[in-house]
């Protein structure tokens, strides 16, 4: 079949080239580190095998966090693998082991339907999971729906194909032309009658259903067909589907729906094959590799610091299941701030872009940088990642690099001279759409009416104490900041290093004889700058250099 061969070759080429490109990217741009096997080779093999059985085949990691997900993915995994090996690759796999294989025989017909049904049920559960959870719905992007869609299409087209073939008189005729030698004149009719009755073929004419005819048909069927055809009753999805399509059977048959569905089915399969190297479609290749490399570990202990290649494998092993984000310790910060990069599954997307040198806008770099900063490295995502990605290592290893490309306000400040610092945040929009200051102390002059400039806050400050020249090293001292705020000059304080080098020890606030909330105010000044940056420092008219 020329179409099939060309299509397959094309899809396979894209697939192979894509895989090669993907694998080549695994070396990334990390500061390299030589991997070392801390344990012996034999132990490594044992652990690898264990990982293959437990993590890859039994999806043990998925089961830890969500039974629903484990069930769904197991169904899809085993269902699809079954179809792939025993149906799609039947000529190379099944036929080799079972010389008398025919696709229409049992158990293959039954298994095909079973695997197909399993996969469909699994897919349905996957869709349900993503639709039911609000957070997960937010995190489900184009490629996530696309993956579910393409597999779904393959399966549905496959069932429709089988159903239409069951119904098709044209297919029947093709088969009888080649394989049936009628002994007598009424034989073909009897066979047809039997096949209509038993196998579900929908002929354009109604054939007799009397016992004699059927008996004759049955025996003819026995002689000529049964060796290769099991009753379509075991096609427990396709056959009922065919029955359900009964009302439109005539139209389907005349339009050769079976051929149409074949093309659809094959095209969907080719699309999936060609898409394999892209995005999360690649995980069937990368995730098992990553799971084996991880050897069953859920931590990130230093002796197992991965090489750059393994880091690349890890980044590619993400199935975008979203479990990490659903359980992320700093997810509440995402709820408030809305920056998706705070959540691990989305941060990983940015990290991949960053590491592979993809062009990223300043806004996305800033968002990524904020996400990187907010992560507390609590280890939870790493512990529960079903794909076994060593996320903790990725986060920690990338922090320095991303900070350099998109510095935080604090980092940016440090690079400036004193004169520049006084103006460093001037270019940020002082827009009102920023998240409102919760306490609003800095703008509320009543906060400072009681300040008598006694300098107690400065005297007790440990940061001032360790500075050889406090004014030079910190720009402004605490009581000077309070004084500026008292005069309504908040903007003049934002670039002072005292604000950013405050160690939040609260001694100033504790000792203040007039109950001024000094430390809280310093927090608020930092928050003010952070909010302006988040609100789109880049979108304002100012030099992009500020942030």
């Amino acid at each position: 079949m020329i179409f099939f061969d060309i299509g397959l070759t094309l899809a396979l080429s894209i697939c192979v080239i894509g895989i090669v490109y993907r694998v080549a990217r695994w070396s990334g741009k990390w500061t390299s580190r030589t991997p070392h096997l801390s344990s012996g080779f034999f132990l490594w093999i044992v652990r690898a095998v264990k990982a293959v059985i437990l993590d890859v085949l039994f999806l043990a990691r998925s089961g830890r966090t969500s039974f629903l997900r484990w069930l769904a993915h197991s169904l899809v995994f085993f269902g699809f693998m079954g179809l792939l090996l025993f149906h799609a690759m039947d000529e190379t796999v099944t036929a080799t082991f079972f010389p008398f294989y025919e696709s229409t025989l049992d158990p293959w017909q039954f298994l095909r339907n079973l695997f197909g049904a399993m996969t469909l049920v699994g897919l349905a559960l996957m869709v349900y999971r993503r639709v039911r959870s609000t957070k997960l719905r937010l995190l489900t992007h184009f490629q996530d729906w696309a993956a579910l869609l393409i597999i779904g299409c393959i399966l549905l087209s496959g069932f429709l194909l089988e159903a239409s073939k069951i119904m098709s008189p044209a297919v029947f005729d093709r088969m009888t032309d080649e394989y049936f030698v009628p002994g007598e004149v009424g034989d073909l009719t009897a066979l047809k009658a039997y096949w209509a009755h038993e196998y579900g073929v929908v002929f354009s004419v109604e054939y007799p259903r009397d016992e004699e005819t059927l008996e004759l048909g049955a025996s003819l069927d026995e002689d000529s067909c049964v060796d290769c055809h099991a009753s379509t009753a075991t096609a427990f999805v396709s056959r009922p589907l065919a029955t359900a399509l009964g009302p439109v059977a005539f139209a389907l048959n005349t339009s050769r729906a079976d051929q149409v569905f074949w093309y659809f089915h094959v095209i969907f399969c080719f699309i999936a094959l060609a898409a394999l190297p892209f995005g999360k479609f690649f995980h069937p290749v990368s995730t098992p590799i990553n799971l084996v490399a991880r050897q069953g570990r859920r931590d990130d202990l230093e002796e197992f610091q991965p090489s750059d290649v393994l880091r690349g494998v890890g980044m590619d092993a993400c199935t975008r299941c979203g479990e990490c984000s659903l359980h992320c310790s700093v997810a509440p910060a995402f709820t408030v701030l809305g920056n998706q990069n705070i959540l691990p599954s989305e941060k990983l997307v940015s990290l991949k872009q960053f590491q592979t040198g993809e062009q990223m806008s300043q806004a996305s770099l800033t968002a990524f940088s904020e996400g990187s900063r907010i992560c507390t490295e609590c280890l939870r995502c790493t512990d529960l990642c079903p794909s076994g990605i060593n996320l903790q290592d990725l986060w920690i290893a990338s922090k320095a690099q991303i900070t350099k490309r998109a510095p935080s306000p604090n980092d940016l400040l440090r690079k400036k001279t004193a004169a520049q610092r006084a103006r460093v945040f001037d270019d940020l929009c002082k827009s009102s759409s920023i998240l409102p200051a919760v306490a609003g102390l800095a703008d509320d002059s009543a906060s400072y009416w009681a300040c008598v400039q006694c300098t107690t806050c400065t005297s007790v400050c440990p940061v001032v104490a360790v500075c050889e020249d406090p004014s030079r090293d910190l720009d402004l001292l605490p009581q000077q900041i309070m004084n500026l705020l008292r005069m309504g000059l908040k903007e003049e304080t934002l670039g002072a290093r005292m604000v950013w080098s405050c160690t939040t020890c609260y001694k100033c606030q504790e000792h203040c004889p007039q109950n001024i909330r000094v430390a809280d105010v310093l927090y608020e000044l930092r928050n003010t700058v952070a909010a302006r940056v988040r609100d789109g420092g880049a979108s304002c008219e100012g030099n992009g250099e500020s942030l």
């Binding site: 006694c454 107690t456 005297s459 050889e468 020249d469 406090p470 004889p513 109950n515």
Partner: protein
């Protein structure tokens, strides 16, 4: 502290001189003491303990003998709180107080019947009853007009060696000054940080090395009070050893570290005497229970707690200590809402001249007490049988101008505890 369901013998409201003294005296008597208070006047103290210095303030007459001064004050101002105390009580109280300070490493010295003259950062002379030992040599040097070098530091505000010498130059010709760079500190300097730095012997050595070229023919070295925070005597002794001169401290303008030194002494010493302290918390409300005991609401917000005590001593200070609150038209006492003795009308609070030597009427406002130091209600009877008052909250004295603040606080606290025990 998340729980405080003990019943205390006495609640001391206030953590200034009077409050600290009251807590000290009460715990020494074996009472179960709880204390609350927030940063207020004591943190701006010079560290000197004044007993009585100036009377009448309109004339600015200074007294050598504080006891005679006290007699004169009581005679001329019969309502002055000193009138409620005997000389023995006053002496005993100050003596006990300073003995406690000495035990904690902050020794105070002076004469029995004579005020000590001490030089201020502006070069004026202050007469006070007890000075920290670390300042003592300054008084000696002043008395002898000895050749003395006042060391000043670039960037330290609130202290000027030049000013000091300028003011004293006629009386004390051999007084010199030099301004040097503080070792390891530049720009604006603050006493507390300098004091921490100077606790380090290496820093002390560097400083002396910088001073010695200027100190060739002097006997005394005077410094602003930055010679260590918690153990100044040790620093002074070491500096004396390094330099071979007598060394002394001069308090800087407030906020000097004298206040933090005193506070640190009490923060260390009182808990070990069994006093339950609630620092930086103020009493927001008080209920009188059927038994007559007080139930205080202490602190604000989530850290609020309630404290029950059989008796209480109100030592909340004046305006800076929040013992008295100045509203638009009148003064109020915020804890018990006791009547405050004050000028009749708002216009009468202050005179026309800010620097008038006789001061201003509002500076004598406060609570009136009976002879047992119990605050009185509007009818002239004790408002509560179990409430006492001590310190600057008492009316009829202008402690800042009379130079009697610390002594009066300590002595009235002593008396209050004594009365409380009866």
């Amino acid at each position: 502290m998340t729980r405080n369901d003990d019943i205390y013998d006495v609640m001391v409201i206030g953590a200034g001189f009077a409050g600290m003294a009251a807590a000290l005296f009460a715990s020494a008597q074996g009472l179960k003491v709880v204390q609350t208070g927030a940063t207020g006047g004591i943190d701006f103290s010079t560290g000197f303990i004044d007993l009585m210095g100036v009377h009448p303030i309109a004339e600015g007459k200074r007294w050598q003998n504080p006891w005679l001064a006290i007699e004169a004050v009581i005679r001329d101002c019969p309502k002055h709180p000193y009138g409620l105390l005997s000389k023995d009580e006053i002496f005993e109280s100050v003596d006990t107080f300073t003995r406690f300070l000495a035990e904690q490493g902050l020794e105070y010295v002076g004469h029995f019947a004579r005020n000590t003259c001490s030089v201020t950062p502006a070069g004026t002379i202050k007469r006070t009853y007890r000075v920290p030992k670390t300042a003592w040599n300054g008084s000696l040097a002043l008395g002898k007009k000895a050749p003395t070098l006042i060391v000043d530091f670039h960037g330290l505000k609130g202290f000027s060696g030049t000013q000091l010498v300028e003011t004293q130059k006629h009386h004390w010709p051999e007084l010199k000054t030099v301004r040097i760079q503080f070792p390891g500190g530049h720009g604006e300097l603050y006493p507390e940080h300098m004091a921490w730095a100077l606790a380090d012997p290496t820093v002390q050595e560097k400083m002396i090395a910088a001073i010695m070229p200027h100190a060739v023919d002097v006997e005394y070295l005077g410094f602003p009070a930055v010679l260590g925070l918690n153990d100044p005597q040790k620093v002074v002794d070491h500096l004396a050893e390094l330099s071979g001169k007598h060394v002394f401290e001069i308090p800087t303008m407030p906020p000097s570290i004298a206040g933090p030194r005193l506070r640190a002494v009490f923060d260390r010493g009182l808990p070990s005497l069994g006093v339950c302290t609630h620092s930086q918390k103020m009493v927001t409300d008080v209920q009188v229970l059927d038994s007559g005991m007080f139930e205080f609401s202490v602190g604000t917000g989530a850290a609020k707690l309630s404290v029950t005590a059989k008796k209480a001593i109100l030592a909340t200070g004046r305006f800076f200590g929040k013992g008295l609150q100045a509203e638009r038209k009148k003064l109020v006492e915020p804890v018990f809402d006791l009547p405050v003795v004050q000028p009749e009308a708002r216009e009468q609070w202050h005179g026309q001249e800010f620097f008038a030597p006789q001061g201003h009427p509002v500076n004598s406002a406060g609570i009136e007490v009976d002879e047992r130091l119990r605050p009185m209600d509007a009818s002239g009877r004790p408002a509560y049988d179990n409430l006492y008052a001590a310190g600057a909250i008492l009316a009829h004295h202008d402690w800042m101008r009379m130079k009697c603040g610390a002594g009066l606080a300590i002595a009235t606290a002593y008396k209050a505890v004594k009365e409380l025990m009866r």
